[in-house]
Amino acid sequence: MSDDTLTKDRPDLSNRETIDRVVIRFAGDSGDGMQVAGNRFTDDSAVFGNDLATLPSFPAEIRAPAGTLPGVSSFQVQIAAFDILTAGDQPDVLVAMNPAALKDNLADLRPGGTIIINTEAFEPRNLEKAGYQTSPIDDGTLEPYLVIEVPMETLTKEAVKESGVSGRDVLRSKNFFALGLLAWLFNRPLETTISWIEEKFGRKPEVAAANIAAYKSGYNFGFTTEAMKTTYEVLPAQLSPGTYTNITGNTALAWGLVAGAQQSRLPLFYGSYPITPASDILHELSKHKNFGVRTFQAEDEIAAVGSAIGASFAGNLAVTGTSGPGLALKSEGISLAVSLELPMVIVDVQRAGPATGMPTKPEQSDLLFAMYGRHGESPLPVVAAATPSDAFDTTFEAVRLALKYMTPVLLLSDNHIANGSEPWRLPDVSDLPDISVPFATTSVGNGHFLPYLRDPETFARPWAIPGTPGLEHRLGGLEKEEVTGNISYDPANHQLMTDVRAWKIASIANDIPPVEVDGDDDAEVLVLGWGSTYGAIKAGMRRVRRRGIPVAAAHLRHLNPFPANLGEVVRSVPRVLVPELNTGQLLRLVRAEFLVDAVGLNKVAGTPFQVTEIDDKIVEMVER
C-alpha cells in the first residue's frame, strides 16, 4: 500500500454507481486539517464539473485542547450533477477523525449514511474527552450506518515513511489519506490535488512528498481493500458555459471592492479592526497593494470608520468592514457620514448575537440595526449578499450607490456566506460598468464653493477633494444649511435637510431593478427572503413545486429602499412567508410598509435553514 504507483489503471472491480448528488462532511479535531481536506475535495469536484456548495464550521473562538468537543472542526460539501443551492441538509457521508468529531456530527447524518472512521483515534483518553463511556464503534451506536473502519494513523505512517518527514509531522498527512479514500469512493481524479500539493508545499518538498504519498495511499487503500462494494460517480453538472472558480463570500466581497475601485477609478481604502468573521476581508485586501489598495488596521472600530470618513473626504473609495459588535461601535461615525453625505461602504458580516454571542455562527439579526442603528433620522441604503459569489455583485452595487448618491451604504453578509463557497462563473471584467463619478473642480457660487448644492436628479451633493484650488470648504456634523453647508439651526432648514436626506435614499428605488419573482404565477405562497437563506429558500420552493403546489419566491438584494415593485409583489399573493435567521426583521419592515399579514419562519440557532424546514413550512401554510 505504500506503493507509489497509481493503482488507477488497474481494472476496477467494484460497482460504479452514478448518483446525482451527495453530501459529504469531513469532521475532525482543529488540528486534523479538515478544512484543507474539504476544500481540496471541493476544488477537485469543481474542476471535474460538478455544481457544489460548501459549509465550513469552525470551532468557537478559543482553540480547545485536542480531542475535545469544542475543538471539532468540520467542512460540509454537496456536489451534484445539477445546479444545487445549498450544502445539503444531511450528510450522506461522514468522515470522523476522532470520537469528538463523531459525537458532534453523528446526529446530522442521514439514516443509512456512510461513516469513515479513523479507528486508531478511538482510544480511551479520546473517548473520555468526547464523553463516550464505551466505544461507539463496538457498542451498537453505529448500527444504523454503513461503517468503514480505517487504521488511518498506521497507514499514514507507513505511507510517508520515505518522504523525509518525521516525528509529530508524520500524522499531519492523515487528512490527505482520508481525502484519497474519498477520491476513490467518488471516482475523483487525483491530479488536481497532487499538483495543488506540489505548488502549495513547494518550499517544503518533504511535506509535499508525504502528503502526496498519504493521498495516494488512501486512494489505494480503498481500491485494494475494496473498502466498499460500490463506488459512486457524480457526473458533471450542466452549468452555463464559462470560466469558473470556487469562491468564498469574503473573497468575493473583497474582490468586489477591488473591482468597484477599478471601475470608479478611485484608490481603495479599507479601514478595519479584526473581528470574526470579517477579518479575512482585511487579509485578502492587504495582499493587493499593487492595485493601489491601502489597508489600515485601526486601533478599534471607531477609528476604522473614522479613518474611512477621512479617506472618503480625501477622495478615496472608502470602506470599513466588521461584524455586529464592531458595527455597534461605528454607529456614531456612520451617522456623521450620513450627515456629511460622504460616500462609503460599511460591511457587516453578521454573526450570532447579542454581545459576543457565537462569533463563528451565522445569523441575520443585524438587519434592523443596519436600518435604524443610528441616532436621529439617519437613513442609508442597505444591501445584502445572497450567496458567496453574489457577494461580488452586491458589493459592486454598494459601491455604485455610495458614489452615485454620495452616501454611506450598509452591505450585509454573514458567516455562512463569508466562509461558504460555491462555483462562480467569472464575469468578463471588460463588461463591468463604469461607475466613476467626477470630482467637483469648479465652483458655481461666485467664488464660494457650495458643498450642499445638489444634483437635481440624484440629490447627490458635489464631492470636492482637498488639493482642488478654489473649492476649499468645511463640512461638519451640526445641521447644515442646504446649498451653502453653513451651520444652521433654522427649523425649516432642518426639516428640509431631513426630508432631502430621506428622499435621496428613497429615490434609489427608481434606480434599482424590480425584484424578480421566481415560480408560479398562481402561487399560493410567496416566499420572500434576503441574504444567506437564498439557497435553502430556492431549494425548498423547488421541492414544493415538484409536489405540484404552486409557489413562488423572491429574494431581496436591496433592503433599503425596497425595489419599487415589492408592494405589488407581496400584495398579489394570498400568503407571504418570510424565512429569516432572526426573530422576524424583514418581516417587520414588510408588514409596516405594505400592511400585508406576512408570516415569519424564524430560526435563531446559529445554524442555517435546512431545506426541509422551508419546505415543510410552505406546505403547512398551503394546507392550512
Binding site: 491601502r294 470618513i309 472618503s312 473626504f313 488639493g467 484650488p469
Partner: protein, 339 residues
C-alpha cells in the same frame, strides 16, 4: 506639497466668511490669529491644507480657516485625519482638539496616532475644562476642582498631556500659550517642519468657565517667575535674573538655584535626544500650569512616518507585481472551464 509658484498669502486669505463665535475674551481667538498668521507664512497652498476637529468650543476652529476642513464628532479627529494623511501624504493635515476631546473621549485615537507617527499636526487647546458643555471638569483639571459635576471637588488625578504623549511614543511634543503669539507661531512652524505626528499642548484661557487657570504663566508678576523656556542647545535657566536652573539628577529634572551648581551641571536642552526620557523628565517639573512650567519644544526626534511606510508598500508591490490586473485576480484561485 508641490509649490510651483511662490505663494504670497496674508492672514486674511485664511479667514472665512463665517462669524467667529467664541465668547468675547476667549483664548481661542488669539490662537486662531496665530494659526492664520502662520499659515500665510507656511508656504503651502491653501487647497493643500486640511483642518480636522472634534467637538468642543475649540473644535469650531475649522469653520474659521479658509482651507479644507471638517468639524467631526467628539474625540475622533485623529482617526479621521489619519484617513486623510495616510492616503494623501502630499497634504498638510492639522487636528484641532480640546482637553476633553483629545484626552477624555478621544484618548485612544490620540495615543495611536502618536505611536504610528502619522503625519498630523495636533493642536490641543487645553483650557482644563469642558467649555462647550458649560463647565464640567476635564482630564486636565486639577484635582479637587469644584465644577457642576463635582460640587464637592473632583477626586481625579489629572493627566500631564506632555508626559502622556511621550509615553505614547510621540516624536514631536511641545507646549505653548494662547497669549504668546510669537511663541505659538514658532512652535507651529517647527511642527510643520517635523515629519510625522506633532503634538502641541496650547494652554488656553476659558474666561467663562475656568478663568485665570494659567495665571501663574500669564500674570504680570508670575510669568517671569514661572515660564521655563526650552531652547535647543541652551542651558535651561529661568526667572527674571535667570536665577533658577534645571538639572538632571538621578534621572529626574530638578529646579535649583542657578548659583548652587556649576554651570556645566545645568541641563542643556536637546530636543533631538533619541531617548525620550529627558523630555519626560522636563514634563514632570510641573503638573499643570502651577509653579515653574516648561514651554517650548520638549522633543523633536525623527522616525519613520506611518504614511510614508504605507505608501512605500504600494510602490514596492507595484514594482514587484506590476499594476493590479483584475481579470488575473479573479483567476488567481484556480479556474475550470465549462463549455
Amino acid at each position: 506639497m508641490s509649490e510651483t509658484t511662490t505663494l504670497s498669502y496674508t492672514r486674511a486669505d485664511f479667514q472665512t466668511d463665517q462669524e467667529v463665535r467664541w465668547c468675547p475674551g476667549c483664548g481661542d481667538y488669539t490662537i486662531l490669529a496665530s494659526v492664520q498668521t502662520f499659515m500665510a507664512e507656511m508656504g503651502v497652498r491653501r487647497q493643500d491644507i486640511v483642518f480636522v476637529s472634534g467637538i468642543g468650543c475649540s473644535s469650531r476652529f475649522p469653520y474659521y480657516m479658509n482651507t479644507y476642513g471638517m468639524h467631526s464628532i467628539h474625540g475622533r479627529a485623529p482617526a479621521i485625519a489619519t484617513g486623510i494623511a495616510a492616503t494623501r501624504p502630499e497634504l498638510s493635515v492639522w487636528v484641532v482638539t480640546g482637553d476633553g476631546d483629545a484626552l477624555s473621549i478621544g484618548g485612544n485615537h490620540l495615543i495611536h496616532a502618536l505611536r504610528r507617527n502619522v503625519n498630523l499636526k495636533i493642536l490641543l487647546f487645553n483650557n482644563q475644562i469642558y467649555g462647550l458643555t458649560k463647565g464640567q471638569y476635564s482630564p486636565t483639571s486639577e484635582s479637587g476642582k469644584v465644577t457642576k459635576s463635582t460640587p464637592m471637588g473632583s477626586v481625579d488625578h489629572p493627566f500631564n498631556p506632555v508626559s502622556l504623549a511621550l509615553g505614547a511614543e510621540a516624536s514631536f511634543v511641545a507646549r505653548t500659550l494662547d497669549m504668546d503669539r510669537p511663541h505659538t507661531i514658532e512652535v507651529l512652524k517647527r511642527a510643520h517642519q517635523h515629519k510625522g505626528a506633532a503634538f502641541i499642548e496650547i494652554y488656553q484661557n476659558c474666561n467663562v468657565f475656568n478663568d485665570k487657570a494659567f495665571l501663574q504663566l500669564t500674570g504680570k508678576t508670575e510669568r517671569e517667575l514661572n515660564r521655563i523656556a526650552l531652547r535647543h542647545g541652551e542651558r535651561v535657566v529661568f526667572g527674571p535674573d535667570s536665577q533658577h536652573a534645571v538639572v538632571m539628577e538621578q534621572g529626574a529634572a530638578k529646579v535649583v538655584p542657578t548659583n548652587s551648581v556649576p554651570a556645566d551641571r545645568i541641563y542643556v536642552h536637546d530636543e533631538h535626544a533619541p531617548d525620550p526620557t529627558v523630555a519626560f523628565a522636563l514634563s514632570r517639573i510641573s503638573h499643570g500650569p502651577y509653579g515653574p512650567t516648561p514651554l517650548g519644544i520638549f522633543r523633536d526626534a525623527e522616525r519613520p512616518t506611518y504614511d510614508s511606510g504605507l505608501n512605500q508598500q504600494l510602490v514596492d508591490a507595484q514594482t514587484r507585481k506590476g499594476p493590479g490586473d483584475l481579470a488575473k485576480l479573479l483567476r488567481s484561485l484556480g479556474t475550470w472551464e465549462v463549455e
